[in-house]
């Protein structure tokens, strides 16, 4: 019996509690880097295998797994490239394992190929992107320039992956578990879209990492003893067959759109202006909302947590009485596209975006909000 069998057979799939949660050394809060917290959360969830490759600003996640996964008797492989890492994940997932992969923007680009194959072959995996500045080698500073890549398909072909965007380390811990739930519920890759600030910053978190029940998948490869062989593939050469597969995939996406949209709101009581932001940019936007409120401006924050599916209907709803909408992002105008699609021209939508590892300042956001209210939608980068 392999380690995988043992965990699959345990009733709730529980694993040993995270060390910081172990009785005698029980503490209420611990300081953790985002990268480390995400890694430990995945271990608690019951991640069987991790594959990665060093890249800043996510290297601590790899290093944490290099130490912790063998302690738990689980699989850790430092691959020769991000290409190899995601394909190892493809194989482990096909064999029924719960798999985590992480990287940062340039490495995520290399993974697009296999992510498309995994979407087409209906293979679950959780991929963490700790975004850095781009394009190209860019910078190692925090950025959100991979929004469109993450939400509009990533690789080739008609597919999506659910994208979860934490804006604090505590939330990242919760979303790791949610990501595995979504991945297994819908048999799909899921992406956690973080950024260099979330990966590198340390925050106090309650070390109550949660486990996740597991059921042995009825599609996984284990050898065809006593049953017909299973083939996990995306190739369907007859157009009729491929379209049927594609339609099945679209029905899954429809269900995800219906059931899994998530967002959070703050100060959305009768707002004049709705700021829309996710991840680290949402934390700046929150500060700006507070300052605007102190100055008597009716500002509120709408924070999408699922970037795909984008919570369009909720945004349209909360913005109904407002005069303007402002997207705040660490990119050149990517999130704002989904905001405009959601608002459907009902209100002026403007952009405040910084790039290259530069982070919007609360003052800059306040100013952009005032400008949006007075001019009715002028972009500022």
């Amino acid at each position: 019996m392999t380690a995988l069998d043992r965990r699959a057979d345990s009733r709730d799939g529980s694993v040993a509690p995270a060390r910081s949660d172990a009785g005698a050394r029980r503490v209420d809060r611990v300081l953790m880097k985002g990268n480390e917290a995400i890694a430990e959360a995945a271990i608690a969830v019951g991640c069987d295998a991790y594959f990665g490759y060093p890249i800043t600003p996510q290297a601590e996640l790899l290093e944490w797994m290099a130490r912790r996964m063998p302690e738990e008797g689980r699989v850790f492989v430092q691959a020769e490239s991000e290409l190899a890492a995601i394909n190892m994940a493809l194989g482990a997932s096909a064999a029924g394992a719960r798999v985590l992969v992480s990287s940062s923007s340039p490495g995520i680009s290399l993974m697009a190929e296999a992510m498309s194959y995994m979407a087409g072959s209906r293979l679950p995996v959780v991929l963490v992107n700790v975004m850095r500045g781009g394009p190209g080698l860019g910078s190692i500073g925090a950025a959100q320039g991979d929004y469109l890549q993450a939400t509009k398909g990533h690789g080739h072909g008609d597919y999506h992956v659910p994208v979860l965007a934490p804006s604090s380390i505590a939330e990242a811990i919760d979303l790791v578990r949610d990501a595995f739930i979504l991945a297994e519920r819908y048999r799909t890759p899921v992406m956690i879209l973080a950024d260099g600030i979330l990966g590198q910053a340390m925050e106090p978190v309650a070390p109550a990492f949660r486990t996740l029940e597991r059921q042995r998948p009825d599609w996984a490869l284990e050898g065809a003893e006593g049953r017909p062989p299973r083939v996990l593939k995306s190739l369907h050469l007859r157009p009729e067959d491929l379209e049927e597969q594609d339609l099945a995939l679209q029905r899954v996406y429809d269900e995800i759109r219906r059931s899994e949209q998530r967002w959070a709101g703050e100060r959305l009581d009768d707002p004049d202006i709705v700021l829309v932001a996710y991840g680290s940019a949402a934390r700046v936007a929150r500060t700006a909302v507070e300052r605007l409120r102190e100055d008597g401006v009716g500002a509120g924050l709408f924070r999408p947590i699922t970037l795909w599916p984008f919570p369009s209907e909720p945004l349209r709803h909360v913005a109904r009485g407002a005069r303007a909408v402002l997207a705040v992002e660490m990119s050149a105008g990517q999130l704002v596209e989904d905001v405009r699609l959601a608002i459907e021209g009902a209100l002026p939508v403007s952009l405040h975006g910084r790039m290259g590892g530069m982070v919007p300042s609360p003052d800059g956001v306040v100013e952009a909000a005032r400008r949006a209210l007075s001019t009715g939608g002028e972009d500022g980068r």
Partner: protein, 276 residues
């Protein structure tokens, strides 16, 4: 009944049972070697009694269809990535038999990094590497394994080594790596060679079952359509021109003391700087 036992003797001919792991008649071109290699793999897995616990990792090229003809749990890989996919399968299912089935475009061009590093890590997988020196699926373009001077649709004046490089002897290269426990090159050029290739494939899977490390069997094969030859002419070219360039044999079987006479990287040995 084991595979290879005669089913019936009739009219002076011995008829062998068709391996049950061969699920469907193949749809490869006339004279293509894939059908032979599929059968050898099926026979060996049945002989070893491991068909029910074996996972096939497919590749891209004509070999992509292997899962249509072998009744095995199978997963598709992106082009060249099969050794990485197999690494993932084997690491979480170490008690299963895991093998890749790859052509030379897949393994020796786009997948060079994956094959080298899976071998370097000594992954407990078996690689069946079918080398016909050409990209068959896409219409007969030059591969890294294409012979010097060979005409293909992308080397219409013949492979010019001055600009298109020399054929890549992947199996010899991999033989230098200590993680490689077994490496051999066979051929489907005649029945005797097919028999030896079958023995090599069996040995490669035994090495995996013994948990020794990485094993690879390269099988020199034909592509009559891509080569512009009849099946008979293609077999003749394989037996002569191709096998002159790619010698068959066992390069590594460390458990049996067969290894290249080179210092093992990372192991203590006399300094190579002597006489340098």
């Amino acid at each position: 009944m084991t595979v290879g036992e005669p089913l019936v003797e009739q009219e002076g001919r011995t008829v062998y049972r068709r391996p049950q792991l061969l699920s469907n008649p193949t749809s490869y071109c006339p004279g293509c070697g894939h059908g032979i290699v599929h059968r050898l793999v099926a026979e060996v897995l049945e002989e070893l009694g491991v068909g029910g616990k074996t996972i096939l990792v497919g590749s891209v090229g004509c070999s992509v269809f292997a899962y249509d003809f072998l009744a095995l749990d199978s997963v598709e890989s992106p082009h060249g990535r099969a050794p990485a996919v197999a690494t993932g399968v084997k690491r979480v299912r170490p008690d299963r038999v895991v093998f890749t089935y790859q052509g030379d475009g897949d393994l020796a061009a786009i997948g060079t990094a994956e094959i080298v590093h899976a071998a370097a890590r000594g992954e407990r997988i078996t690689v069946i590497f079918v080398n016909n020196g050409i990209y068959g699926m896409t219409g007969g373009q030059m591969a890294p394994t294409t012979l010097a001077g060979q005409q293909t649709t992308s080397s219409p004046r013949g492979r010019d080594v001055a600009t298109q490089g020399y054929p890549l002897p992947v199996t010899e290269m991999l033989s230098l790596l200590p993680g490689v426990q077994y490496a051999a090159r066979g051929s489907v050029a005649d029945p005797a060679l097919v028999g030896k290739t079958r023995a090599a494939i069996r040995r490669a899977f035994e090495v995996q079952l013994e948990d020794r490390g990485f094993s690879i069997v390269e099988v020199l094969s034909t592509c009559p359509v891509g080569w512009g030859l009849t099946p008979v002419e293609a077999m003749e070219r394989l037996r002569t021109t191709v096998m002159d360039a790619y010698p068959v044999g066992t390069f590594v079987d460390r458990a049996r003391g067969i290894a290249p006479s080179l210092p093992t990287p990372g192991a203590p040995h006399r300094s190579v700087t002597e006489g340098f």
